[in-house]
């Protein structure tokens, strides 16, 4: 079982969270001409990296906030967590 440090509540079990996908995907800007390829990349195409990865998680059974989690997809080690609106440097 993973333990995730929610930036709002503190250390909690993975059971309380729901996975939300890749956090590095950016939605195409509004009012911008968007090609089919760009939409395809935004909606479907993921790199599915092996290694450090930035993910979205929803603390659905806790504070109900979306958070970002930096996790290694091969070892499951969690390095850092951020609030959803925090910039990751």
């Amino acid at each position: 079982m993973l333990y995730i440090n929610c930036p709002h509540c503190g250390m909690r079990s993975q059971n309380e969270f729901s996975y939300g996908g890749d956090a590095s995907v950016k939605r195409p800007l509004l009012n911008k001409e968007v090609s089919d390829q760009e939409w395809d990349d935004f909606v479907y195409n993921r790199k599915s990296l092996r290694g450090k990865h930035l993910e979205l998680w929803h603390h659905i059974s806790g504070c109900r906030q979306w958070i970002k989690v930096e996790r290694d997809t091969s070892t499951h080690e969690i390095f850092r967590t951020f609030k959803a609106d925090e910039e990751v440097v």
Binding site: C9, G10, R12, N15, E16, I60, G62, C63, R64, Q65
Partner: protein
């Protein structure tokens, strides 16, 4: 208006489990609580209102994890960032709440009839909770509250007292019976008195 019991079909009074040859004082006590005012208060993200200026039943809202501000009648539980659950025996507070929290800055929802509430009191309360929750209950002190899961059911745990341990569990009304079964099953080995 009096609340209709959410646990009427399952909550039976008496002593159950391994209660024989034990002092009644040492048994866990499980009871259903009714007729409380429950109000969820959520401050919108863009709201600039400062909560220091707002008081309900002489209590100020605290935006801190685990925190519960309380007096004899009312408890304000932190449920998430800018999100609280107000629990009170004073039903008339609802008027104050609607007057103080304007609808352009806050979402105020009366949940009084949509939760089942179970109180558990006794030495082994934390052992009962540990059986179904992934949270480390040794960290939970008096006047702390958390949202977590018990056997997969999402609930709010409010630590009312720590000597002896007393917790109040809030759960969606329709899951109340499932939680009650889970809690009473977990309590059988210690013996419990249903009030």
């Amino acid at each position: 208006m009096t609340s209709i019991s959410a646990l009427a079909n399952v909550h039976k009074k008496g002593q159950f489990g391994d209660f024989e040859d034990k002092n009644e004082k040492d048994l866990l006590k499980i009871s259903e609580i009714k007729n409380l005012l429950l109000v969820q208060i959520f401050q919108y993200k863009n709201s600039k209102i400062k909560l220091e200026n707002i008081e309900i039943d002489e209590l100020k809202f605290k935006n801190e994890p685990l925190s519960v501000v309380n007096n004899d009648n009312t408890r304000i539980l932190w449920n998430g960032p800018k999100n609280w659950l107000l629990v009170s025996t004073k039903k008339e507070l609802i008027k104050d709440i609607f007057e103080n929290f304007n609808e352009t800055d806050f979402a105020v929802t009366d949940l009084s009839h949509s939760r089942a509430i179970i109180d558990i009191e006794g030495l082994n309360v934390k052992e009962i909770l540990k059986k179904g929750c992934p949270f480390n209950f040794n960290e939970l002190k008096k006047n702390n509250s958390i949202n977590t899961t018990y056997n997969g059911l999402v609930l709010t745990v409010d630590m009312l007292n720590d000597n002896p341990n007393k917790v109040r569990l809030f759960i969606l009304r329709s899951f109340g019976e499932s939680l009650y079964h889970s809690i009473t099953d977990a309590s059988l080995e210690f013996g419990f008195k249903s009030l």
